[in-house]
Structure formats: C-alpha cells, structure tokens
C-alpha cells in the first residue's frame, strides 16, 4: 500500500515537473535574450535614446502605465477592435455560409473575396480617409476589411469540407431550415472557422495599428507615433511590449479555450 503511494506520489511529481519544465526553459531563454540586449547596449554603438536597454524600456512601460497613459490607450484600441471585429464576424459568417452553399455566389463573389484577401487592408486607409475623413469610422472601416475576408474564407472552407453525410443524417433526424445551419453546418465547420477567426483577429490588430499611426487621438498606435516624434525609443519599445501583451492575452482569453474544446471533441492532436 505504502509502496503504491510512493509510486503514485513519484508519478505526480514527475507530471508536475513535466508541466513546469517548459516554463523554466522559456524563462531561461528570455533571461539570456535580455542579457544579450543589455550587453549590446553597454557596447554603446548607438546612443541610448535610439537603442535603450531593457531596464530603461521596463521603466518607460512602468511610467506609461502608472501615469495613466497606456491603459486608457489600450482600452481605446480594444474598443475599436471589438467594434470592427464584431462587424467582420457577423458579415463573414453570413458571407462564408453563402459562398460555401451557393455555387453562383461562389463563382462570382468568391473570386472577388479571394482578390480582396490578397490586398493588405492598410491599402484601404487612404480611401477610407477620403470617404469618412480621418476619424473613428475610417479606422473601424479598415479594421473590418482587415478581418472580413479571412473570416469569410475560413467559414467557406469549413462549410465546403463538411462531409455531406452530416447534413443527410441531420435532415433524416428531422432537422430543417435554419437549424441545419445553426446546429449542423456551423458546428461541423468550427475547426476551419476557428482558423479563419484567428487569422482575421491578427489582421484586424495589424490594420488597427496602421490606422492609429495616422490618427491623433490617444491609442496604442498613436503612442508609437508620439514616441517617434519625441525621439523616445524607450516609449516606442514599451508600447510595442504593451501591444504584444494585449495580443497574447486576448488570444489566451478568446481563442485558446475554444481551440482546446475543439481539439478535445474532434480528437485532434
């Protein structure tokens, strides 16, 4: 009995180590990276206001947050992202379903969507500014176009790759009309849709930053621009760190749990 207990405990601690070890390796990697960075700064090849060390950047990040600049800026950016992405999501789901289910729409609109996907969404910015002026609407417009086509193509791919036998089985069991879409096609397509959603999210994020670089109200993109104007590389880097943190956090909150569930249900590795 006690022998069993010992092996169980040994097993548990082994599992615990297996979970912790990657984090330790990651930590060591970043510590090495930071010391290399600090080492290069100490060589004084470039002046510190152009190439500040990690401590200075960390300090800039701390000050940016405590002076109440970074967090409100991040909130402004996130609000735009949320609005733009929601619009893309609704349009993309409908458009993707239509493309996946209707041959005529796929042959016509489908080719247009593929073409649009090849166009970086920043290219819409000059046009957006002409149409809407340099304001909130122009930025959201660019965010929407950034995410829309990735989401559409993801939904379309998912719907097209759904084995027809699922639809047959569902109709056979009494599913009709809209329920075939909500209870069969969309969930069946979820793995592919999720890929589209993630890609759309990262494109939306990029488009937003491009838009905000040009637009002078408080936002993450705008903080980058003011950092440049003030010759303050530490602020620029601090804001970049901030953008990475926000991006990774959203990914962990929004997409990682859904992805885990999809993997669990479909049995994907």
């Amino acid at each position: 009995m006690s022998g069993e207990m010992t092996t169980m405990l040994a097993e548990q601690s082994r599992l615990g180590r297996a979970r912790v070890m990657p984090w330790i390796r990651r930590l060591i990697f970043y510590l090495i990276l930071l010391s290399i960075w600090e080492g290069i700064v100490r060589l004084e090849i470039w002046p510190p206001y152009l190439f500040p060390g990690p401590l200075i950047v960390a300090n800039a990040l701390w000050e940016g947050v405590t002076q109440g600049l970074f967090l409100p800026a991040a909130l402004v950016s996130l609000r735009r992202l949320a609005i733009g992405y929601s619009i893309s999501l609704s349009l993309g789901l409908v458009l993707g379903l239509l493309l996946g289910r209707n041959k005529l729409i796929q042959e016509t609109v489908g080719s247009l969507v593929l073409g649009m996907q090849a166009l970086p969404s920043v290219c819409w910015l000059p046009l957006a500014i002409l149409w809407f002026g340099l304001n909130e609407r122009a930025i959201i417009f660019v965010v929407v176009l950034g995410a829309l086509f990735s989401i559409t193509l993801g939904v379309e791919a998912g719907v097209k790759n759904t084995p027809p036998v699922y639809l047959k089985a569902a109709r056979n069991l009494g599913a009709r009309g809209v329920r075939l879409y909500t209870q069969v096609l969309l969930p069946a397509a979820l793995p592919a849709i999720l890929n589209g959603l993630k890609q759309g999210w990262s494109f939306a994020w990029r488009s937003l930053m491009a838009g905000e670089l040009l637009y002078y109200t408080l936002s993450l993109g705008n903080l980058l621009q003011t950092g440049r104007d003030l010759n303050d590389a530490a602020q620029v880097m601090a804001v970049m760190v901030m953008i990475v943190i926000v991006g990774v956090t959203i990914d962990q909150i929004l997409f990682a749990p859904v992805e885990r569930r999809v993997r669990e249900r479909w049995g994907l590795a």
Binding site: K168, R171, L173, G174
Partner: protein, 285 residues
C-alpha cells in the same frame, strides 16, 4: 429485459414528441412503385437504379444484396426521402413519401455521428429537432444508450469510440425517435467479424421485440441469410432486382449453421451468374 423496457418506452416517446408518426410502435408497410434513379455525371446520363417494384409488409426484415454501386443505397436514400426518385413513388404506411420524415430513419455505414456533440447529445439530436424539452430528451437518450449497452459513455466524444460502439450510438439515435421503418445502409460493413456478429444478434433481438420494418443493405451473403425474411438480389448498375429468396430458416440463425451456409451458397450462385468477373462481393461471404 432491455427489449421489454424498450417497448414500454415507446408509447411515451410518441406522446412526448410533437410530430412523431401516429403509428404505435411497430412497423408500417412500404410500397415501392416503379422507382428509378438517373443522374448526370460528367455530361453523361447514368442510370443508377432501373425501375424497382417492391412490397414490404409491416414488420418485415428485408435484406438487399448486390455488388457495390448497384443502387441499393440510392434506393434507401429515396425511401428515406433524402433524394427524389427520377420516376415512380414510395408509399410508407399508405402515405406518399414527399421528403424526409422520422417515421423512416436511415443508418449509414460510417455511422455519421456528429463530432461536435457528445454521445448523449448525438442520441438526443432528433428529439431536440422535434421540440422535446432538454431534461426529458436527455433522460430518453440515457435509456436508449442503456438499450444498446453503452451506459457510461454518455459524455464520450465520437473519436473516443470504436467502430462498433459508433454504430450502437447511431442505432440508439435512430431508435429513440421510434421510427416505424429502419433503413440500414451497410451499417456493419466496416466492422470486424466478431463485432458484426454481435450487432447482428442485437439488431435481431430489437427487431423481434419492436416489430419494426427493416430494410438492410449488405453485400455479405451470409449476413443477408442470417437476418432476412426475404433476400433481394440486385444486379450491377443499373440496379434491378434479379431474384428474390424467402428465407424460412428458424430464428435465431447461426452464421455457421449448415442450413445458413447452403442457403447462402444458392444465393451466391445467382449473384455470380449475373456478375461481371471484375466485380467484388464474392470474397466477402
């Protein structure tokens, strides 16, 4: 025991569902009148099914036997109302079939369970479409999972099940709707011999207890003889019924019994006579 339990549940299943058939548990008749199917493939008209006439009595178990691509599956699909015939018509319980209905449920070779739902929700899918409240349909799903010996797997996902277990779930998903007709399209075709034998016996038991009308497609001759009241032999494309055998051997029939084997041999001879040499099916009995 489990079968008596099933019968007891049936009245309840019908009462609980909005538009279930008014039939009590048990089968209905099927009339297949001049049903054929043609379709366009690569610009050529292909005749999948020559006009078929067939009368099925309520509660009859009929096996459709023939080489792959002889239109047996197409016929089941048409009876299920999932595709229209090119000519002819189907009457189920005297009423013309004009689309899918849960009085006729089709089971597929690949089970066609939904990977985004767990086992219990898969079984309850049809009840949900019929508007049954959540708690009640979950209770019924559990009961029918018990019937197919899958209690304890309610929350498993499809990828965690073996092929035989998937077919059991598919069977429960169909039976829970209390259909009068089960249309089975090689449901055991992809299973190993042992699992297949077990499922055959269970299907026969359930059939004996409920008296449902069953059309069972297979290209396994012995399986057809072991299960069927009648075995209909189909020709290769375009499929038509070339001969009909009434199987009067006593039930339950053993696959190994010499009478089963003799009967199978007789049917196989008919299959061979009508078959081009490159067709399969003869290695499968």
């Amino acid at each position: 025991m489990a079968e008596r339990h099933l019968v007891a549940q049936h009245g309840h299943a019908v009462a609980g569902m909005a538009d279930a058939s008014e039939q009590p548990s048990g089968g209905i008749s099927l009339e297949i009148v001049g049903v054929s199917k043609r379709f366009l493939a690569r610009g050529r008209m292909v005749e999948a099914l020559a006009p078929v006439d067939l009368q099925v009595k309520p509660g009859e178990l009929i096996c459709l036997l023939g080489p792959s691509g002889c239109g047996k599956s197409t016929l089941l699909s048409i009876i299920a109302g999932l595709e229209p015939p090119s000519s002819g018509l189907i009457r189920a319980g005297g009423r013309k079939v004009q689309g899918p209905g849960i009085d006729r449920v089709l089971l597929f070779q690949e089970a066609a369970l939904f990977p985004w739902l767990d086992v219990q929700h898969n079984v309850a899918f049809g009840l949900r479409q019929a508007g049954m409240p959540e708690a009640e349909r979950m209770r019924m799903a559990r009961e029918y999972l018990e019937l197919v010996h899958l209690s304890g797997f309610e929350h498993s996902y499809v990828h965690q099940l073996s092929g035989g277990m998937r077919q059991r779930v598919a069977l429960a998903r169909a039976l829970v709707l209390n259909p009068a007709v089960l249309l089975m399209d090689e449901p055991f075709g992809a299973l190993d011999a042992l699992t297949r034998d077990k499922l055959q016996i269970e299907l026969e038991t359930i059939w004996a207890a409920t008296g449902k009308t069953i059309l069972f497609v297979t290209h396994n001759v012995r399986e057809a003889v072991a299960l069927g009241d009648r075995v209909l032999v189909f020709s290769p494309r375009p499929g038509r019924i070339i001969q009909e055998f009434s199987i009067t051997l006593p039930r339950p029939r053993s696959l190994e019994h010499h009478q089963t084997i003799d009967q199978a041999r007789e049917i196989l001879a008919v299959l061979h006579a009508d078959q081009r040499p490159d067709e399969e099916a003869n290695d499968e009995w």
